[in-house]
């Protein structure tokens, strides 16, 4: 049997005295969607930054297709191009147009020719109804459009795994839907995804699995029906009640 696409094995992350991740473990098979929920400060965002190797972990292992990518002697750059991340605050490059944002990494990292990279970008933009924004700069388009461009920018690297760090929480309520729609399409197409989000509706319909985190630990882990409808711990019950009441 082949190893899972992503295998998180007892990882610890500390910032000085503060322990942010405590012995976190889970596996993720290819084409699965995992949603991570939990109160702020529970370590969800740090977990994603660790998976992308933007933060080094202090103990444990992160394996991608069985290879330990968290080994301190491992070159992180080639790994990062296989793992896309979408940030809460979009982080588009303000000095580049939509097209420039999408084609920069394919051209400079994958060494794809400019025409080929632009053709790929145009195809992605057309698919997600953004082709008319191709020459705009990030500050000239809406937050929802910026986040969709950020998703396309990550997709253009053809990643094996996509990470989403609260992709809709910086958006006005009426713009949340268009971003979730893109994520639903990706999930339906079989993209492997880890989504940190409070959008429980999205988790219910698109996620194969939900993890509830609290104080740096995985407190609940199971299918959305179980974790969201019938949580086993008081902490999860309290949190979910608060989120659902909005």
């Amino acid at each position: 049997m082949s190893p899972p696409l992503l295998s998180v094995d007892g990882i610890w992350k500390e910032f000085g005295e503060l322990v942010v991740l405590k012995d976190v473990s889970f596996d993720l098979e290819r084409h699965q969607v995992l949603t991570v929920v939990g109160p702020s400060g529970s370590g969800k965002s740090t977990l994603l930054r660790c998976l992308n190797l933007l933060e080094p972990i202090d103990d444990g292992q992160i394996r991608l297709e069985g290879v330990d990518i968290s080994d301190p002697e491992f070159d992180p750059d080639p790994v990062r191009r296989r793992i896309g991340i979408v940030f809460q605050s979009f982080n588009l490059f303000p000095h580049l147009s939509v097209l420039g944002n999408i084609t920069l990494a394919p051209r400079k990292v994958l060494r794809i020719s400019r025409p080929a990279a632009e053709e790929q970008a145009r195809a992605l933009l057309s698919r997600f109804d953004l082709i008319d924004k191709i020459d705009e700069y990030p500050d000239r388009i809406s937050g929802g459009q910026q986040q969709r461009v950020a998703i396309i920018r990550a997709l253009a690297m053809s990643p094996d795994l996509m990470l989403f760090d609260e992709p809709t929480s910086a958006l006005d309520p009426e713009l949340v839907g268009e971003v979730l729609d893109v994520m639903r399409v990706l999930a339906a197409e079989g993209m492997t995804m880890v989504v940190v989000s409070h959008e429980l509706a999205f988790a219910r319909e698109a996620a194969d699995r939900v993890i509830f985190m609290d104080a740096g630990m995985v407190v609940e882990d199971g299918p959305p029906g179980q974790v969201l409808e019938d949580p086993q711990t008081d902490r999860a019950r309290r949190f979910l009640r608060l989120v659902q009441e909005g």
């Binding site: 930054r49 750059d77 490059f93 990292v109």
Partner: protein, 289 residues
């Protein structure tokens, strides 16, 4: 459910609008009147004091003589061409050297540690020495070594001095720009697989340089003026030519001629810098108050 109706603006000017317009107009007229009156009062007083001072007729003759302005102009003008050439060459070199210094100081690679220490010491030392002393040290000291293959021309060492002195300041300007680019931009670049140097080159530096264009232009204005220091090495630039004219005629108007030439270049550049700063503020602030 009833559809909300959009209120329609009545044609003509309502009493409320009319009152607002009238008050705003009154306030604007008042500000204009006060501004004009205080300007006339201040400059008028200064003018009167100067014109009535006992030495004014002599000063007018020695500093503001139209004949001497015309007579000294051709030589000073040709000297000024040398200023322009020197500060243009120096500015290009400064922008390149300073950018290298700033990037080296911001690098994290262990291979660059000696360069990083060197760049830090260089910036600290050079910024602490007055340009005029540096000019004497490099302009008279190095040629005196009579090294093989090292040019002895005064102009060459003058340019070297300006580059050495200004690149230390300009490097700090670049560095401030680099540090003003938010860390999340680096994160985004690295997450796409760009290496550290690529993130710097394609994501951080383009944003940093754009932000520091106004302070860079400011330093460029200062450089243009400091090109007059080269007179001390005997380079025949505008100030040196005016000194020569003054020594021959004992009339100081030649200095005024040189000053005017500098102003013709620096004032438009300073205005342009202000315009860029205002445009940037408008873009980032988005409010008129």
């Amino acid at each position: 459910m009833t559809e909300a109706t959009t209120p329609r603006r009545e044609p003509g000017i309502s009493p409320g609008r009319a009152r607002r317009l009238a008050v705003h107009q009154r306030q604007r007229r008042r500000s204009l009147a006060i501004g004009a009156a205080s300007t006339v009062a201040v400059f008028g007083t200064v003018g009167l004091v100067v014109a009535n001072s006992p030495g004014w007729p002599t000063v007018r003759q020695t500093f503001f003589s139209w004949e001497h302005l015309q007579a000294s102009f051709p030589e000073i003008w040709s000297g000024f061409g040398r200023n322009v050439r020197i500060f243009l060459i120096a500015e290009v070199l400064i922008l390149v050297v300073a950018l290298l210094l700033a990037v080296i100081r911001n690098s994290r690679s262990p291979f660059l540690t000696p360069l990083r220490i060197g760049a830090t010491v260089y910036v600290d030392v050079v910024r602490g020495i007055p340009t005029i002393i540096l000019l004497y040290l490099l302009g008279f000291g190095v040629p005196a070594l009579r090294l093989q293959g090292v040019p002895n021309s005064q102009e060459f060492w003058a340019i070297v001095t300006l580059v050495v002195s200004y690149s230390a300041y300009v490097a700090e300007v670049y560095r401030a720009g680099i540090e003003s680019v938010h860390e999340s931009q680096r994160s985004a670049a690295r997450s796409l697989g760009l290496r550290s140097a690529q993130s710097m080159q394609y994501v951080v530096l383009p944003q940093a340089v754009r932000r520091v264009v106004p302070p860079l232009l400011n330093d460029f204005v200062a450089l243009q003026k400091d090109s007059a220091l080269l007179a001390l090495l005997g380079v025949q630039e505008a100030f040196r030519e005016s000194q020569i004219y003054v020594a021959r005629t004992f009339n100081f108007t030649a200095y005024l001629a040189a000053a005017l030439l500098f102003l013709i270049l620096t004032i438009p550049l300073a205005r342009f810098t202000d315009y860029l700063i205002r445009r940037e503020q408008k873009r980032t602030a988005g409010t008129s108050l």
